[in-house]
């Protein structure tokens, strides 16, 4: 295997891994936040090495948000931040008597 093949393999592996991460973050924002928080907490743990703890702190996710820029048309009307949960107005139906 030539040096070119090795470098090529590494680059492709990195690009595919980043693409998978971006897709995960964009399409499943809440799940990805939960997973990242769990990984971050396990790394940033008493008894771990300083390097691992630092990595854990860096991996601590900012609140991930799905937005209209992520998965649907090129809108811009949703605003920069999604509404807080309390702003969503769930519909509640009561059975008719």
């Amino acid at each position: 295997m030539s040096t070119f093949d090795i470098v090529q393999g590494v680059i492709i592996a990195l690009v595919v891994a980043v693409a998978a991460y971006v897709a995960f973050r964009k399409l499943l924002p809440r799940t990805s936040t939960r997973v990242m928080a769990r990984i971050s907490a396990s790394l940033n743990h008493e008894g771990r090495s300083a390097a691992l703890r630092s990595l854990g702190r860096r991996m601590q996710p900012a609140a991930a948000t799905g937005s209209c820029g992520d998965g649907c048309g090129s809108c811009g009307s949703c605003g920069p931040t999604p509404p807080a949960r309390s702003e969503a107005q769930p519909l509640h139906f009561k059975p008719r008597s």
Binding site: V22, C72, S74, C75, C78, L91, H92
Partner: protein, 615 residues
């Protein structure tokens, strides 16, 4: 109250210019338009006053009264009363009122005054009021109301200067009002008394509005004008964009050739860049001009004040099929994207009307469908004139948009028949004054649309394209293989598997593969088709031009079937997620996804079989 972090809430009737003022104060770029109900959630920003103080500004949804009848009005009520979760009551309420329509807006000002909090009244649109010949005694108005009154022109640079200076001065004192428990009648009487004393009004409405509305709201001519306008927009989308699209396509091909020229032609890296990135992203990127032309018209219509008139014209038809006239704005927003459209349903009071609107909103033709539609139309519909005037491709695009509209009306009608509650709700909607669109606002709006599209291309679309390239490449072809390598890959095998399900509607395995990442967002399917065909062994020149390639490989029946699929299929995960959030129900998500996929399959099946029988 903290002297350094004063909280200011902007409140007022819908469409009085709160968000435009918010943008002026904070430098924000929140969406503004000339109709009621643009803002349906609380937005926060901050700015530094000339004195150096940092002020937090809340932009709240418009409300006619604190007797909230819709979810967006309830947000305003709760924030002003200090009952909004996690939000302290504002230190200062800036009540924004449309100076040209004080008879309506002052009633809410009186309600706000009764809260007993410091209030400043911003008389907005003073330029329009002066043009109409209105004379407002600002001092007298301030005396009568017992609150400071400042003049503003929110859409003009520097138009909020007086307000900034007033906010930066001492917080106004609260003068107790004499009518703390006034009835609605008493409030109206007080408004009439204040207006009689402080406002000279030559006529109730603007002469120009009346003149335009005689035609624009005419039951026959009004509908004709609306249809002509829509038709012209779709013609323009095709006719005007082509030269720029050709330029982008040539640029992408040249860039691709240059970048990949440094790599060995048979290497995986060359394939990733050429077949994945350039063939995939290039196929989507060329549609930017068409999207911008469509949005140019949408933004101009939004700013002009014509849209509520269109709602009025279509109300009768919407009413017959079981939609409220209030659904018009959310459905219209869905032409840009279903997500803000579904969120805009918060302005609908009745939960059943709201649910109906939410469930049909994904049928409106969002801009993400445009790349798919135009790709297929350009490839299969001849570019020729109809009746010497119209472009056939534009006519087909127009028909597809109307197919979405009529489907939504049909689904709403079925839902109306199915539901037990037959009560009906009349449309009460404020018709704003017409105004000339602000060139800067339009330019900013277009810039933001372009950035959103480019971010999507560089974000989720690029990510999914790379993943699809990976799945289309590995595992590679075995020794002595005779078929293209993609046939042996994960994506190829998945496509062949899905082909069993989609063969009756005419989809080949390449389309089946493209539909899978296309579930994330509609235009991803175009990028995916570019990648799949490039991986299938098409040469570079053809791969960069997907249209000519598919026009050779697909039948017309397949293309029409795919168009029919995209009219209905909910190929957008974010839309389904928003339905879940807004209705707090997975059942509604299942209903939406189930009926939309069902309709998509049936429509494609009928289209394909009929087209095949006729050809």
């Amino acid at each position: 109250m903290s002297a350094t972090a004063m909280r200011i809430a902007l409140v007022g009737n819908p469409n009085c210019g709160k968000t435009a003022l918010f943008n002026q104060l904070t430098g924000g770029r929140q969406k503004v338009a000339n109709y009621a109900g643009v803002t349906v959630e609380r937005k926060e920003g901050r700015f530094m006053a000339p004195s150096g103080r940092t002020l937090h500004v809340l932009d709240l949804p418009g409300a006619y009264s604190f007797d909230a009848t819709s979810p967006d009005e309830a947000i305003t009520r709760d924030v002003c009363h200090g009952r909004y979760p996690g939000e302290a009551a504002p230190d200062l309420i800036v009540c924004v009122a449309d100076a040209t329509n004080l008879r309506l807006h002052l009633r809410f000002v009186l309600e706000v005054r009764r809260l007993g909090r410091p209030v400043v009244l911003a008389l907005n649109m003073m330029d329009a009021a002066r043009r109409r010949g209105m004379v407002i005694d600002v001092e007298g108005l301030s005396r009568r109301l017992g609150v400071p009154v400042v003049e503003t022109i929110a859409i003009k640079r520097g138009g909020a200067q007086a307000l900034i200076e007033r906010i930066d001065a001492a917080v106004p004192e609260v003068i107790p009002t004499a009518v703390d428990s006034a009835s609605i009648e008493q409030l109206h009487a007080e408004v009439r008394s204040i207006l009689a004393e402080t406002v000279k009004l030559p006529r109730d409405t603007a002469a120009i509005d009346d003149a335009i509305d005689r035609w624009a709201l005419h039951p026959v001519f009004g509908l004709l004008i609306l249809a002509t306008l829509m038709f012209f927009i779709f013609q323009a989308v095709f006719s005007w964009a082509q030269p720029v699209m050709d330029g982008i396509q040539a640029g992408i091909s040249a860039l691709g050739a240059w970048v990949t020229g440094f790599l060995p032609g048979d290497s995986a890296l060359h394939s990733l860049l050429n077949d994945g990135v350039f063939a995939g992203l290039g196929a989507v990127l060329v549609f930017l001009p068409q999207i911008l032309i469509l949005f140019l018209f949408i933004l101009v219509l939004e700013e002009s004040g014509y849209l509520p008139r269109a709602a009025f014209l279509l109300d009768k038809m919407m009413f017959r099929v079981g939609l409220t006239g209030r659904a018009f704005i959310p459905l219209l927003s869905s032409f840009a994207c279903a997500i803000p459209g579904i969120m805009a349903t918060r302005s609908i009071q009745d939960p059943r009307d709201r649910l109906t609107t939410i469930l049909v909103a994904p049928l409106m033709t969002c801009s993400a469908r445009l790349p798919v539609y135009t790709l297929l139309i350009a490839a299969f519909i001849p570019d020729r004139a109809v009746w010497g005037v119209f472009n056939l491709q534009g006519v087909v695009l127009f028909a597809l948009y109307f197919a979405g509209i009529f489907s939504a009306l049909g689904v709403a009608f079925v839902m109306k028949r199915l539901r037990k509650d037959k009560s009906e709700h009349a449309l009460i909607m404020e018709l704003p004054s017409y105004r000339l669109p602000n060139v800067r606002d339009i330019a900013l709006g277009l810039w933001e649309r372009a950035m959103i599209f480019l971010k999507r291309v560089g974000g989720i679309i690029l990510a999914l394209t790379v993943l699809l390239w990976f799945l289309s490449t590995f595992p590679g072809a075995p020794e002595g293989a005779t078929q293209p390598a993609i046939d042996y890959s994960i994506a190829g095998r998945l496509g062949r598997l899905l082909e069993y399900v989609f063969a009756p509607i005419g989809f080949n395995w390449q389309i089946c593969v493209a539909l899978v990442p296309g579930l994330a967002a509609r235009e991803v399917a175009v990028a995916a088709l570019g990648t799949v065909y490039a991986m299938s062994g098409s040469d570079d020149a053809v791969a960069s031009q997907l249209g000519p390639l598919i026009s050779h490989q697909w039948s017309l029946a397949t293309a029409l079937s795919l168009l029919a699929w995209y009219v209905f299929a909910p190929q957008c995960m974010s839309t389904l997620a928003v339905i879940r959030r807004e209705t707090n129900s997975w059942r509604n998500v299942a209903v939406a996804a189930g009926y939309l996929f069902g309709l998509a399959y049936l429509a494609s099946l009928a289209t394909y079989q009929i087209a095949r029988a006729l050809s």
